[in-house]
């Protein structure tokens, strides 16, 4: 698990309370609209995302930057940098 500080993002996918596998489907859609180098932030309360999203990035050639916990909103924030 790679923990980082909260960082600025170019787009956000708010997946809190939304069921699995939305945490994989919606980020994939949003990444299509980003340019290489831009960052996508994913908000989720789904523990499974902590493994699924890094694995999805590895499989699809995207850079997983890391995650942090957002205690105020009871969710995780995960960051992906678009590679291509």
């Amino acid at each position: 698990m790679k923990f980082i500080q909260e960082c600025p993002a170019d787009a956000t996918a708010d997946l809190v309370y939304r069921v699995c596998p939305m945490h994989l489907l919606e980020p994939a859609e949003l990444l299509k609209d980003l340019k290489p180098g831009q960052v996508l932030e994913i908000l989720t309360d789904y523990d499974g995302a902590l493994e699924d999203i890094p694995a999805w990035c590895a499989k699809h050639g995207q850079e997983f930057l890391g995650l942090c916990e957002d205690d105020c909103n009871d969710c995780y924030k995960l960051y992906i940098r678009k590679v291509a």
Binding site: D14, V16, Y17, P21
Partner: protein, 396 residues
């Protein structure tokens, strides 16, 4: 016997154009929109087209529409889903005392199972919620307010922009149940200033078994039906594709016809009200006389049981209702009529007419012919009425 049907709020025929649009989705276009093959993906595209049509009716964005099984489900998702998604802020909801049972009971559910406090706001004698009274009811723990656009029982239209503005200033979510108002008056979510809005298919001339919830983009909702990724993971269950297609078509028609339909219904309604008030003594026209739905007329006949009146009229081919169809068999005095200050003896005699484009002047004549003798007959065996007459027949 021809019928004069005035219970469109309870059920209305699916419009022929709507039915035509739906039929292929029961037969050759049967695919599941979640399937990855072409039979499914084309249906997914159809669903998104319907979402856009419903969004257009409301001045919303397609991604702000969730399809549901009914207005009641949409109200549940709005009240429970939004309140539970914002527990960090507090556990207080406010609803008006004259909401549909799906809102009232959703608020009671939050009280009973999630330690919420629910405030049931009073209304004035016309059924209006005072924005200042709403402001006073807000607390730092208030997460959601739900007040209907218009009442299905008394037709009164609320000042939603003013009520929603009070909530926006306080950072509180505002939901409105627009089931009774949809297809009768314009509904634009930006002009209304609401965060959530409920629609149902039948109210627009669409089929039963389908509804929709508008939710402002980025607003979090806890799903109330847990399942798969349908509706972007916010509402599980395979979509009712024919129903949604019907709702989409009905919304499209409503958007184009509203400008002509409202004045037509209002003119018919005004003639109905004038005729009934002239023909029957001791009758109260309930709800607001001006700020009301164009296709809505509601009365209370003192000394009469509304159920009996509905039954007698139906035997003459005139169909109306005592109030909300959901509660009409309960034989209880309507909480809405009590909330506007009517005594139980008067409220028992409730009769509601909900009009549609299919109603004509001939339907009104049927009411004028059959209503006065039906009321007179019921009053002739009413102890309440005889007592009143013996006391001098004073008005309510």
């Amino acid at each position: 016997m021809s019928i004069a049907y005035f219970d469109h709020a309870a059920a209305t025929p699916v419009r022929p154009e709507v039915l035509e649009e739906m039929l292929p989705y029961f037969r050759e276009r049967f695919g599941n929109p979640s399937a990855v093959y072409d039979l499914g993906s084309v249906i997914k595209e159809v669903l998104e087209e319907q979402r856009a049509k419903v969004a257009r009716l409301l001045g919303a964005r397609p991604q702000e529409i969730i399809f549901t099984s009914s207005g009641a489900e949409a109200n549940n998702l709005a009240v429970k889903g939004a309140a539970l998604a914002h527990l960090k802020k507090g556990r207080h909801v406010i609803v008006s005392g004259i909401e549909h049972h799906s809102v009232l009971n959703a608020a009671r559910y939050l009280e009973k199972f999630h330690d919420f406090e629910a405030t049931f706001l009073p209304v004035d004698r016309f059924g209006q919620v005072d924005p200042e009274r709403l402001r006073q009811a807000l607390t730092p723990a208030t997460v959601l307010v739900s007040i209907q656009v218009a009442s299905n029982e008394i037709g009164t239209i609320q000042n939603i922009p003013a009520l929603a503005a009070v909530c926006r200033e306080a950072g509180v979510l505002f939901h409105t149940d627009a089931v009774a108002a949809a297809g009768q008056i314009p509904l634009n979510v930006e002009e209304l200033g609401v965060d959530l809005l409920t629609l149902s298919g039948p109210a627009l001339g669409g089929p039963k078994g389908v509804g929709a919830l508008y939710f402002r983009k980025r607003l979090r909702l806890v799903p109330q039906i847990h399942g798969g990724i349908q509706e972007d993971g916010r509402r599980g269950g395979t979509e009712n594709v024919p129903g949604i297609v019907g709702l989409g078509k009905a919304a499209e028609l409503a958007a184009t016809e509203l400008a002509d339909k409202g004045p037509y219904l209002a003119s018919l309604r005004d003639r109905l009200v004038e005729g009934v008030l002239k023909a029957v003594p001791e009758v109260i026209y309930t709800g607001h006389p001006k700020r009301r739905l164009p296709g809505h007329a509601s009365f209370c006949f003192e000394g009469v049981e509304g159920e009996a009146l509905v039954f007698l009229l139906s035997r003459q081919g005139v169909y109306a209702n005592t109030g909300s169809a959901c509660a009409s068999k309960a034989l209880k005095v309507s909480p809405v009529l009590c909330a506007i200050g009517l005594s139980p003896a008067v409220a028992q005699g409730s009769l509601v007419f909900t009009l549609e484009r299919s109603n004509t002047a001939a339907d009104l004549e049927a009411v004028f012919t059959h209503l006065p003798p039906a009321v007179a007959r019921l009053r002739s065996f009413s102890p309440v009425w005889h007592k009143k007459m013996a006391a001098g027949g004073a008005g309510p």
